[in-house]
């Protein structure tokens, strides 16, 4: 106990693994298809970053670690272990911390998954996206639905009981029927958590060029039908929506992601990883070569009080429980109505938000047009 207290404290830790078998056509995350040598060099640099640059962020032990990507699952399991060891040597990681890793179907075999489990990883997030092989192909995913079933089975064999499945709606060529079938298939597997995203066509991806005139994508009515079906079907199957795109069996909400929305401090390691220490945001560059050479320089953005208040609102309102007025006052020593009074009134009046006791949260319609709601909270 005494030894542990010498270690650095920080709310959460994120580790970015920027490698994939192949980049999907819609993906705009920082990720590359690389050979083993590059991967190994990357992990060397990553561990150096942790050892040399670990820093405190908050007066609390580390409550969650998240290996995201890319596809962390394609890395050699021992590299992941090296990273975990390095983290544990620098940080006080709670014994009951949530430690997640992202996998893609067919990216990790049973043996590898067992190593994860024995190393203390206790949550797995699998990118399925769709149970329809034709849709997977359109997305440029390097796996089939059967590959997913095998991985899902392996994950359970290895003893994981906290598992997320990613699915997507509004895909090119997707019908309401095929999406309902994905929903149905996934709920029958009874994962503890489901992330359901509506496809966003991001600039700079092959999809952007392919679908810039919206041809081939479901029309607005169809897209909305899928969107509303998500909440209904998942709700009936016992999943609570706790964030715009996230559903969980009660108690299995992702602690790591919730931390982002509650503005808990987090330290991100690796290429393009972001960090937040409570007052400043940091962003690692995204040049893989530079990173491997040991350049760990991060861009720092100091948040003004106005920035922080806006973040409090637009991050907090992403959660279905919304924000707490008392917490706003506690953090900013100002009454929320003194800062956002007329806006809150207007948004209540137009049915975008609701106020119940201490809570303010988005209505269903507010969720649909949340960008419009959020943009108004920016104070500059």
């Amino acid at each position: 106990m005494y030894l542990n207290s010498m270690k650095i404290k920080n709310g959460e830790i994120y580790v970015h693994i920027p490698f994939c078998v192949k980049k999907c056509d819609y993906c705009d995350f920082v990720s590359f298809a690389c050979d083993d040598e590059v991967k190994h060099a990357y992990f060397d640099s990553l561990i150096k970053e942790i050892e040399l640059n670990a820093e405190p962020g908050a007066d609390m032990p580390v409550d969650s670690v998240f290996f995201g990507g890319g596809t962390p699952g394609i890395a050699d399991a021992h590299e992941i272990l090296r990273v975990l060891d390095a983290l544990r040597s620098k940080y006080e990681v709670s014994p009951d911390a949530e430690i997640s890793i992202e996998l893609n179907p067919a990216s990790a075999d049973l043996e590898k998954i067992k190593i994860y489990r024995s190393a203390g990883i206790n949550r797995v997030s699998i990118g399925l996206q769709s149970s329809d092989d034709r849709e997977l192909k359109i997305l440029g995913r390097p796996h089939s639905f059967n590959d997913f079933l095998r991985t899902y089975d392996d994950v359970h064999k290895a003893g994981f009981d906290n598992v997320n499945i990613d699915i997507m709606s509004a895909l090119p060529g997707q019908s309401v029927k095929s999406y309902l079938s994905t929903l149905d298939t996934v709920t029958k597997l009874k994962p503890s958590h489901i992330s359901a995203y509506s496809l966003i066509i991001e600039e700079g991806t092959p999809f952007f060029e392919r679908y810039k005139d919206n041809k081939g994508l479901p029309d607005e009515d169809t897209e909305r039908e899928m969107y509303y079906a998500t909440k209904e079907v998942l709700g009936k199957a016992g999943y609570m929506r706790y964030e715009i795109s996230n559903y969980a069996v009660p108690g299995k909400e992702c602690r790591h992601n919730t931390g982002y929305w509650e503005r808990k401090p987090y330290r991100g390691f690796g290429l393009a990883a972001a960090s937040f220490d409570g007052s400043k945001r940091y962003q690692m560059h995204n040049d893989l070569k530079r990173y491997i050479k040991g350049d760990h320089e991060r861009e720092i953005t100091l948040l003004s009080k106005e920035d922080a208040m806006a973040e409090f609102m637009f991050l907090g309102l992403r959660m279905m429980k919304g924000i707490k007025k008392t917490l706003f006052k506690e953090e900013f020593s100002a009454d929320i109505y003194d800062i956002y009074g007329s806006l809150l009134e207007k948004q209540k009046e137009t049915g975008l938000i609701k106020e119940e006791g201490d809570r303010i949260f988005l209505t269903d319609y507010g969720i649909d047009v949340s960008n419009v709601v959020f943009a108004d909270y920016l104070l500059v």
Binding site: S198, R224, G268, F276, A310, R318, L352, S370
Partner: protein, 601 residues
């Protein structure tokens, strides 16, 4: 120098037939300028002109030529603007000359503008001699063009120099022809001063630099002068002539010469083009003929995109007006657009040039309203008002009748396109006057057209219907009674003043419908449904709806995304700031200009 050894002339040509290139060659092959000093095109030195390939502001050059007879001659080459918007300015430049070189493209032959300018030159008693340019083009047909010039214009063209201005072929023949075919000026240097203003330029040190052709008399430093039309008086500070791109002072300007005068004049409006400068103490009997007060033909509202830039816009307009007496502006306010100016222009090209200069040289973001012409509104009480802003139209019950300006238009086109051009004129409410065949394959079509119908995109439409072959010229004919109505646009049931315009009654439905369709595309979806309506006299004639927004979500928002997503939200908020708020609808600036593009698709 003796008047016998002066030649005052200009070059007239259709756009792209090689006027500026020939001018460059003449300057190059005569004195006062080395090849090294030559810019690509010495005469066209404004960026904008270079890009559009047209000459906007007339410029003038004095050069010295040693002829084959061994004598030296002074050439005053007076440049003329080459667009119908600037017809009056062209006519004043011509009046400063004694002769003109007509440049005709050996492949293209005569165009409507060529004809219009030649007739204008002949009207001013200029001796015109032709030059056939671009003879080195494979498609050149000099014999055909020579015959055409003789047949159509009726001037001698048999011994016209066959040249290539671009490649410097036979330019010496042009120089000799200038000496031999253009008459020397005839004026009396001892008579009272009588000088024609053909251009002016504002210089922050010297004040207005007045470009003049001395018809009679002499002017020098200290001469008290008077502008006969504007009545402005001043004492001459400096006189001189035009080097290429510079002003070279001299002792005096005598009859027959072309040069400049400065007299600490503050405003170009005092030195109107076409006015006569005389000696205030010894005035000439009468002013030179042809002076006209410049009148704006096309008006539109010009507003700063950012309301705080209103003073900057005013400063910029004032600065532009220093050099452009034909630019008119007065303050106005719009409910939709805030504080701005109603500006008057010679034509649409002039409007576009000013708009571009404001944006480029003065770094202003502008919102302009639909350009319109000046309508005459005759009220039941006998009053007549000249309407430049549709919002000022009196209540229909007070209107007896309205009139709109008409033009005489001449369109020259190859015979295969006659049908489609006539159809276009018909659509634009044209009244057919006549058609003559210039030669077997080309016709000159004459129409009377409402000015309102040609200010937007008539020229573009002509070009596209004739695969670029039609050429076009027009002059104002006068006013005619017409059935006109004001078309109003309502957005979310609120009338938007900046979108109103005057339209011919029978076209109202069509334009209203197009307008609604266009606005539907321009206005972003809001959280509520927005009806867009077109109305005439309170009666809705067309409607479109911008559907309510149903989705605007960031699906993912992870730790690494927060800064990026925040930027996205900032962009969204910034975009909103740049919009105009009408009631609770935010309208992008672009929407106000969409009326300009109604016929594009």
């Amino acid at each position: 120098m003796n008047q016998d050894h002066i030649r005052n002339f200009c070059i007239i040509a259709h756009i792209d037939h090689g006027k500026s290139t020939l001018a460059d060659r003449i300057i190059e092959m005569t004195g006062l300028l080395t090849s090294r000093e030559m810019q690509a095109q010495v005469l066209d030195n404004m960026d904008l002109e270079r890009e559009r390939g047209i000459t906007i502001k007339a410029q003038t050059v004095r050069t010295v030529y040693k002829a084959k007879n061994g004598e030296e001659y002074i050439f005053n080459l007076i440049d003329t603007p080459g667009h119908v918007d600037f017809n009056y300015e062209v006519s004043r430049s011509l009046a400063a000359c004694d002769g003109a070189i007509l440049v005709v493209d050996a492949a293209q032959g005569i165009e409507a503008q060529t004809l219009a300018n030649v007739y204008l030159a002949l009207d001013h008693d200029l001796d015109v001699f032709p030059v056939i340019n671009k003879i080195d083009l494979p498609s050149a047909e000099p014999e055909k063009v020579i015959a055409e010039i003789e047949d159509v214009i009726g001037i001698e063209a048999e011994d016209a120099p066959l040249i290539s201005a671009k490649n410097g072929i036979n330019i010496d023949q042009v120089l000799e022809a200038i000496v031999n075919k253009i008459p020397a000026p005839k004026g009396d240097s001892n008579a009272p001063l009588q000088a024609l203003i053909f251009d002016s330029l504002y210089d922050s040190y010297k004040g207005v630099i007045v470009f003049v052709r001395i018809k009679n008399g002499t002017v020098k430093k200290g001469t008290p002068i008077k502008m006969m039309a504007t009545g402005a008086t001043a004492e001459v500070v400096e006189v001189g002539y035009f080097g290429a791109g510079q002003f070279i002072p001299c002792e005096e300007l005598t009859a027959g010469t072309v040069g400049y005068i400065t007299a600490s004049i503050k405003n170009v409006r005092d030195t109107a083009v076409g006015d006569t400068v005389t000696n205030a103490e010894n005035p000439c009997k009468e002013a030179l003929p042809g002076y006209k007060k410049v009148q704006s033909m096309v008006f539109c509202g010009v507003y700063p995109a950012d309301g705080a830039k209103y003073p900057d816009l005013r400063d910029a307009l004032e600065k532009l007006q220093l050099n452009d007496a034909s630019l008119f502006f007065e303050p106005e306010t719009s409910v939709a657009l805030g504080f701005g100016f109603r500006c008057g222009f010679l034509g649409l090209l002039h409007l576009e040039i000013i708009q571009e200069r404001l944006e480029r040289e003065y770094n202003l973001d502008l919102v302009t309203t639909a350009p319109g012409v000046v309508y005459r509104v005759h009220k039941t009480n006998g009053d007549m008002i000249e309407l430049t802003n549709p919002t000022n139209l009196p209540d229909p019950s007070e209107i007896d009748y309205m009139e709109e300006p008409m033009v005489n238009a001449e369109i020259m086109v190859t015979t295969e396109f006659v049908g489609s051009i006539m159809e276009l004129c018909q659509q634009r409410r044209g009244r057919y006057k006549s058609m003559e065949y210039i030669e077997a394959t080309r016709a000159l079509i004459k129409y009377e057209l409402p000015l309102n119908e040609i200010i937007y995109d008539f020229f573009d439409a002509l070009k596209s219907r004739s695969r670029g072959y039609a050429s076009f010229d027009y002059e104002l004919k006068g006013y005619e009674r017409s059935e006109l109505v004001k078309l109003d646009i309502l957005i979310n049931r609120e009338e938007v003043d900046a979108l109103s315009f005057i339209v011919f009654k029978d076209s109202a439905y069509e334009r209203g419908r197009k307008m609604c369709e266009k606005l539907k595309d321009e206005i972003p979806r809001h959280l509520f449904e927005i009806p867009i309506q077109a109305a005439v006299g309170g009666k809705i004639i067309a409607r479109e709806t911008v559907k309510a927004m149903r989705k605007d979500v960031l699906a993912k928002c992870y730790g690494g995304d927060i800064s990026r997503k925040k930027k996205l939200l900032e962009k969204q908020k910034e975009g909103k700031k740049r919009m105009r708020q009408i009631g609770n609808v935010e309208i992008p600036q672009q929407a106000f200009m969409s009326v300009l593009k109604l016929d594009e698709d």
